[in-house]
Symmetry: C2
Subunit: 150 residues, 2 copies
């Protein structure tokens, strides 16, 4: 069927994640889902995606357990797509992408949106990496440790 390369079996969690949500549209659909978009037509007009693409993406994301379809909340007989727990788990990925985008992809004079606490309006702090015992950590102090199974 799909001749496109997959690195699922390489055993790298990053490769697996990209296998699931690494195509062009998936993360944008998920971003919109985090923003409260639920209906086919909302995704379609909001993203400017072709309907055929959207249909297959929504189906794939649903099959993969990232979205699920539920009866529409407005009482109509239609259905809507909402994030599952697994899908909501991608929020930190979105935040990381957002922070990187804000840092590197805006001219200084360009207006930016920002992510804030709904109640207080206080912005989200930068994500940071620490060891499990709480010490700050830097990318060049890390390595990937293969765990032999069992």
């Amino acid at each position: 069927m799909v001749k496109r390369v997959s690195l699922w079996d390489a055993g790298c969690p990053v490769a697996r994640a990209l296998d699931v949500i690494g195509d062009w549209w998936s993360l944008l659909i998920i971003r919109d889902a985090f923003d409260g978009v639920r209906r086919f037509s909302e995704f379609q007009t909001g993203l400017g995606i072709a309907k055929g693409m959207l249909a297959t993406r929504l189906r794939d994301l649903t099959e993969r357990g990232i979205l699920e379809s539920a009866p529409a909340s407005d009482g109509t007989a239609y259905r809507e797509y909402v994030l599952t727990a697994k899908g909501r788990g991608l929020f930190l990925v979105m935040v990381a992408l957002r922070q990187w985008g804000e840092d590197h992809l805006y001219r200084p004079d360009e207006p930016k949106s920002s992510l804030v606490d709904t109640e207080t309006g206080i912005p989200v702090a930068r994500l940071e990496m620490r060891t499990e015992d709480g010490r700050p950590m830097d990318w060049n102090n890390t390595r990937v440790k293969k765990i032999e199974d069992r």
Copy 2:
């Protein structure tokens, strides 16, 4: 005539980020770069990517300031590709993807690799989101605030 869609101008940092690194191969190349891969042939055999694809991806990533090409460190006349500061800024995206992948894409009995401190071997802690004043935060407590500039 049919241009591939770009959401750069939507003003969303996530959309911009995906515009730059959102295609199928880029993040995998960047992942390998974080793992110390530098040479064309290393990327190529490591990823199983077609040479033509790799060549255009490396060019694009270089043009976009994520990689830069430098004289080879082994003394030969070849060149190698290394992450710029902007590229290294994607580390948290990788960590977020990795943690999500570990959480949701492995069967319980499957071996996983993990990211640890080079010195101590202590694993990296889970990323978490906090407000700037240090209170933990959840995805459903956030909203995107548009900033009108100037």
